[in-house]
Symmetry: C2
Subunit: 388 residues, 2 copies
């Protein structure tokens, strides 16, 4: 086990109807809020009304930015920053999923940053202050509601970059599973795949003696394997929606990765599918992950055997270790298929071969990506070939 | 799943040598510290020297209270409060296990409390301010290093009471597994039993649809079943000591109980063994828990079947559900025996029958204790009979 530090002061407010208390939580930190969201479903289903009523009842005035888009753009962030500065906004409230939250985080940092905010995304400067951020989560997937990270894309060149700072960690996040009842099946399955990927990026490690976190990660994966098919059959089942929302949060609040080297190659590679072909992030992960596994499993066969046996219920009595590992990967791939996810590049409509271009973009100037296996350009191309 | 709120801002600093950084952490919160500890092992093994050097290097001045005792007394707390007030102490640093931490928490609250601090323990008033508390943990068991609770015993009448407040949650806790190498086998096993009990108090619930936390709790228990016998054979193995210290922390940081009704009957009953017969807390839990299980398992047979199968590896193919449940309990009892814990009242030298007196004390004026099963006086006596 590696040395580690863990500190996650985000408050999680979980359960039925809790969005009606949002005003009281905001009031602890500010008086004038910018609400960031996208899509009109929040107006249709009444959630935005309930949030606004609660804010008004608590004496919080507010403005709205309804232009949140998937893979949030710097231009939208800049619009919000100007809005906040002009109106003396002192709190940013995200309503939605990762895109709304990351927009809000970038805005919170940007309002108090003098100069070009993109410099912090390029790593040329660090965030030194930020407005407080709150979240009403409606799409469990990104885990951004209790993470310190924020991903934004610069409009020109589709350059996607991350900042990470405890200053932009949300002060609170309200998680009401009822708000996810209307998520379409495909989006639900893609969100579940993203959650599972956040777990697997931590699970596949070369760090030894990580028994406890191994088992916690396995607990998260087995819960998702159990609940995802059920929620697709029964989308308004509170209990299934609740399990997914809870796992999605814990999967990315950092605890389960403590003391271990994490990997993140699949996320890096998938980002290029999303960038060039506009593939849904979770769906892209369902394509990339099994191919990545087939390419790297020999780098630590025992870890893949453990995954197969403890997570995918492969019989430990199989004679050959390698066959157990491969059966685990096959079962994961079949699981993704069973929940309606694509598992090949062909499935997501990618029939041309821009593998080298995507590999170079995934490497982003570095020699390798990932830690379980350090993948160079040829490795990434090989993974695309396996995913064809 | 029940609605819940989770907020645990304690910073966990985990790993080799991290006590050498304690000064830097204290410096973020204060300038003059009271160090609370007990026993001279900390002087012998050099830990106290390393802590004092680090404080000095960071410009923190300090006083010491070396009178921490198991089941900390109000009188000791009062001595420290007077010391702090006289010397303008603004930070309380606990070095040790639950007794040192709970002493430090009570002192931190008491310094800023006008009037009789015991009133807050009796529930007649609440803590409204506290000095910041930090921890260097040397005994993983209580989980107090990241809990809001603090248990103190009033000298007259051995009245044991708890306060709970976010104000006394430690700002940071340093967990270096190396500092636990010298724990004697019995104390190690008792600590491990206490950790397992913290997990089981949460595991045995009547709350339905708690799949994820069930699995997280099972992960914690299976890690302890795996590691405890190993550490007893190999007490200076860093990896085993690290797993225990990490599980001990997570077992009681509240996360694993979120959304579930917790029980805590075994802890309540055991406290009376400790109070009247001075039994080590963990050892008393090894006596009480299997007896409690035998008395209550029919209240939710399926939960005990799940425990037997998922935690104690009982074959699910057994014909009778009840037999599976009972086999699970037997295996837990055998496990406690195998790590040198007592499992009967006789084993801990209790041969007289003060069952009714202890039952009444455990109920503390209430009609029942516990939530998985609501135990009245007769139930508690029956549990003592089963534990004879």
């Amino acid at each position: 086990m590696q040395n580690f530090e863990y500190h996650n002061p985000a408050r999680i407010i979980f359960g039925k109807g809790r969005e009606n208390d949002v005003g009281g939580f905001v009031k602890e930190y500010g008086t004038k809020a910018l609400i960031c969201y996208g899509g009109d479903y929040l107006k249709k289903n009444g959630l935005l009304d309930r949030i606004e009523n609660s804010l008004t009842e608590s004496g919080i005035s507010f403005l709205e930015f309804d232009g949140v888009v998937p893979n949030p753009r710097l231009s939208g962030v800049q619009t919000c920053i100007d809005l906040c500065r002009k109106n003396d906004v002192d709190f940013v409230l995200a309503v939605g999923g990762g895109s709304a939250i990351d927009t809000a985080k970038a805005v919170a940092a940007g309002v108090l940053y003098e100069g070009d905010l993109w410099e912090t995304f390029l790593g040329h400067d660090t965030v030194k202050a930020a407005l407080p951020v709150g979240v009403v989560l409606t799409l469990p997937a990104s885990g951004s509601e209790s993470s310190k990270a924020c991903v934004v894309t610069k409009d020109e060149g589709h350059q996607k970059r991350m900042i990470s700072s405890p200053l932009i960690l949300p002060k609170f996040a309200i998680l009401n599973p009822e708000t996810t009842y209307t998520l379409p099946a495909y989006q639900t399955a893609a969100g579940c795949t993203d959650i599972m990927s956040h777990v697997m990026e931590r699970y596949f490690t070369q760090t030894e003696n990580v028994d406890f976190t191994d088992r916690l990660l396995e607990a998260a994966l087995r819960t998702m394997l159990n609940v995802t098919p059920r929620v697709l059959r029964d989308p308004t089942n509170y209990n299934y929606r609740a399990e997914i929302m809870f796992v999605g949060n814990v999967a990315h609040n950092d605890l389960l990765g403590m003391g271990r080297q994490e990997d993140w190659a699949c996320h890096n590679i998938e980002h290029e599918l999303s960038a060039l072909y506009d593939v849904t992030h979770g769906a892209g992960l369902a394509v990339v992950t099994p191919a990545w596994m087939k390419h790297v499993y020999k780098q630590n066969l025992q870890r893949f055997v453990q995954f197969a046996v403890r997570v995918m219920d492969v019989d430990i009595a199989f004679e050959h270790q390698e066959e157990i590992a491969l059966e685990g990967i096959r079962r994961l791939e079949n699981f993704f298929k069973s929940i309606g996810m694509p598992t090949t590049l062909h499935d997501v409509g990618i029939t041309d071969d821009r593998y080298e271009e995507m590999a170079l973009r995934a490497l982003d100037g570095g020699a390798t990506t990932g830690f379980f296996a350090k993948l160079d350009k040829e490795d990434i191309i090989a993974i695309f070939e396996l995913a064809k």
